[in-house]
């Protein structure tokens, strides 16, 4: 058990430090601090021009969705990064528990994703005069952690695919774009075609965005309990799927004698 925990905590922290390619301020600040804010400002202005919703509606949607940026790329780096440092085979040859190994890597990614989403709110407060009741801030922070959890789960899935495919960043970009279109980030779900809003119910951030929009207007956390529960369940499902895929691709890699197919 001690070994499991050591791999989970220390291994996770060391891996994040070593593999998160955007950790340098010269990359971190443009991509994870400035990036979410520019996305929020762009869509808020676009929303004004389209006469669609208020600035606050776009701020909450895009800030929460920006958690996916850090989570999807973070998990991609955490798994696929081993390929670039030529240590993937060595990692997969270790007898260490795969759950400890990869769940441990998801912890720092999750926290970083929540920080990224929070910077979006700060940016919106500075540039778009976004305000919410101070009493809602703890609940919003909790919801950002929930969003980061489900996005990290999805990141585990896309990262796992990295055991077979070399271009994980492309997959992460694709997944982010899908979330942007389907999950009610910038278009109300009832304005999307039925099949799109049905898919959205099974994707990360859809439910937590709805919850965050309510909480940002002063609703208590208890009022969005069902959304939070669904989001947590989705996140757990994606994490489990990701771990299963890691095991599956690892076994396939051993059987075929290669970890690259595409």
């Amino acid at each position: 058990m001690t070994t499991w925990l050591r791999i989970f905590f220390i291994g996770g922290a060391v891996s994040f430090r070593a593999l998160f390619a955007w950790i340098r301020p010269s990359v971190y600040i443009p991509t994870l601090v400035v990036g979410p804010t520019t996305q929020i400002i762009f869509f808020a202005y676009l929303g004004r021009t389209a006469h669609l919703e208020s600035d606050d509606w776009f701020v909450v949607g895009n800030a929460v969705q920006s958690a996916s940026l850090a989570a999807l790329f973070g998990m991609g780096f955490a798994i696929d990064g081993e390929r670039w440092t030529q240590t993937l085979s060595a990692v997969l040859a270790t007898p260490a528990s795969r759950a400890a190994l990869f769940l441990g890597r998801s912890g720092p990614v999750l926290v970083n994703a929540a920080i990224t989403a929070a910077t979006g709110f700060v940016g919106a407060a500075i540039f778009l005069d976004f305000r919410m009741p101070w009493s809602s801030v703890p609940a919003i922070l909790f919801l950002l952690l929930v969003a980061s959890y489900s996005c990290t789960g999805l990141g585990m899935v896309t990262g796992a695919v990295g055991l077979r495919m070399r271009d994980v960043p492309i997959l992460a970009n694709f997944a982010m774009a899908v979330l942007l279109i389907f999950c009610g980030v910038n278009v109300p779900l009832d304005a999307l075609p039925g099949w799109m809003s049905s898919i959205a119910q099974w994707l990360p951030v859809t439910h937590v965005i709805e919850a965050a929009r309510e909480v940002a207007t002063g609703a208590p956390l208890s009022a969005v309990r069902s959304d939070v529960t669904i989001e947590l369940a989705l996140g757990t499902g994606y994490l489990a799927l990701g771990l299963f895929l890691i095991r599956f691709f690892e076994r396939e890699g051993r059987r075929r004698g290669t970890l690259e197919r595409a």
């Binding site: 010269s26 443009p30 520019t38 021009t49 389209a50 970009n173 774009a177 910038n186 278009v187 109300p188």
Partner: protein, 242 residues
Amino acid sequence: MRTLRLLAFGWLMHFRMLSQSWFDGFLAILWPLFFATVTFFMFRSGRGEAALEPVALGAAVMGVWTATSVSASSALQRERRMGTLELLVASPTNLAVVLLPVTLATSTIGLYCIVATLLWARFLFGIHVPIVHPLAFALGVVGIVVTIGSLGFLMAVAFVRSRRAWAIGAVTEYPIWLICGFLVPISAIEAARLVARDASLDAVSGLLAKEATIGIVYSGLGLGLIRYFELQGRRLATLERV
């Protein structure tokens, strides 16, 4: 004449290199389509179907900048990674003549995005953009490609000393869309819209002249910077500072 030949062959070579990978080409087209789709849904549920025609043009042009921003800012990074940057800087050919075709080629890839977005708008959203004067419209599009290519050239040069230029390029995507694409349209986009709405070529010639001036200014700034960084690089014996 020699410079023109270098520019033309450089553009052709880089354009062909960029077009080699069907996967990259597919992605270059697909990525702007995601944003175009969000935009069409937003405007359709906000201002209604009538507002979609100019939005389709704006969304189409967004793709040109998407194709240019990261590719251009990391153009020198690619050369650095391949170990050819020092050779290019040391060659007797002016570095600007070597680099400008690279960024022009990346923005030319944006032509695919324009066509793809207009087709996407037509067949999936039923948005028909009438092009009454195809020649004038084509001129407007060329203006967009050249000017955005020039801005890409300026970025490529400005970040010549940084190994992480791509990050700066990526972060310019939304701001440039915002200030140039939809809300405060650049003159070339405005030109394209005017043409599409049955204006004559004369009506847009002033706008195209402005566009050309902007392109020349960006290129001039890029030329100045490239000379400065080249001299600095030679003096400090390194092309990497960040």
